[in-house]
Amino acid sequence: MHEAMVAQSLLATISEEAAKHNAKPVSAKISCGMLNPVNDEVLRFAFEAIAKDTPCEGVKLQIEHKPLRGQCQNCNRDFDVELPCPGCPECGSEDFALLPDAPLMLEEVELDPGAD
């Protein structure tokens, strides 16, 4: 349920960017890591609800889930980790470290300069 707070924060940031460029936001691209996940459906629902009657009404959210990355401590290779992870896909070593997870980011906003 923290999607409601994410939606609020997102609305504020998108509105700020749109105001800066004096244009209407049309869509936004978001990314998140596997350990900071958002549920797409819940986030879209929450965003739609709070964006009603604001300049963000109708903004489409595109949500990218970035894989968790691991680093093998034996062969030093980086790889995508699916939990539970049996080990390095290259050398098979079970000794690997999880790399920092991707944070929740607003990557990109698409604006329609003519619409405002």
Partner: protein, 222 residues
């Protein structure tokens, strides 16, 4: 149409306060532990026992997070440790701004260690940094041994795992809980996680947790 590269963290407002909290704590060399678990895992029982048994060596205060009521704060108050209650009024996690106000209401200067008892929830609190020194995850035996696999984020981010209510393991087959599976699953997510099986109720196993707290407080002092 015009595309704008933004590249901003969505929860940056929370992170701003988290950073302020972290600064306040590190400048004063205070240990601050964010306790996260499901509802009913025994966080408050662990805290009251810890405060009662370590009070001569470590000065502790508590920030209590709950959706409603000050039932837990009352239990902490009975130990005479300073406590500040935050009611989130429906929110499923504590935010850094709430902890910021709570830190200002606590006599931080007089304390060595501040516990933050987060809202009972294994999911949302893990996404909100509070500026704490470390996260402590509590998992109790009746919840089942599949929790690290099912809720990986909090186990991957915590410094310590307290496996609570181990007194129930000895009651003879009433609970299915493979403690070795929990340890292995948690270590797969987090190699450096320290794991202490404890019983907040009987006190069993608490010694290793106390030693860890003692070491952690001392490592900040010097």
């Amino acid at each position: 149409m015009k595309k704008i590269d933004v590249g901003k963290k969505i929860l940056s407002e929370n992170e701003k306060y988290a950073l302020e909290n972290a600064l306040l704590l590190t400048e004063r060399k205070k240990l601050c532990l964010n306790m996260i678990s499901s509802p009913g895992s025994g966080k408050t029982t662990i805290l009251t026992r810890t405060i009662n048994e370590l009070r001569s060596g470590i000065k502790m205060g508590v920030i209590e997070g709950d959706i409603e009521t000050d039932i837990d704060a009352e239990r902490i108050r009975a130990t005479e440790a300073p406590v500040v209650q935050i009611n989130t009024e429906g929110a499923c996690h504590l935010s850094a701004v709430q902890v910021n106000s709570a830190l200002k209401a606590l006599p931080v200067e007089d304390l060595d260690l501040i516990f933050i008892e987060n809202v009972g929830n294994l999911v949302c609190p893990s996404a909100f940094e509070l500026g704490e020194t470390a996260k402590i995850v509590v998992l109790s035996v009746p919840e089942g041994d599949d929790k690290p696999a099912k809720y990986p984020a909090i186990f991957a981010k915590s410094k310590v795992l307290l496996i609570n209510k181990i007194d129930l393991l000895q009651t003879g087959g009433q609970v299915d809980f493979d403690i070795e599976r929990v340890k292995a699953d948690a270590r797969q997510l987090n190699k450096r996680i320290e794991i202490f099986p404890v019983s907040g109720k009987t006190g069993e196993g608490m010694g290793s947790w106390y030693d860890w707290l003692d070491r952690s407080v001392k490592s900040l002092r010097f």
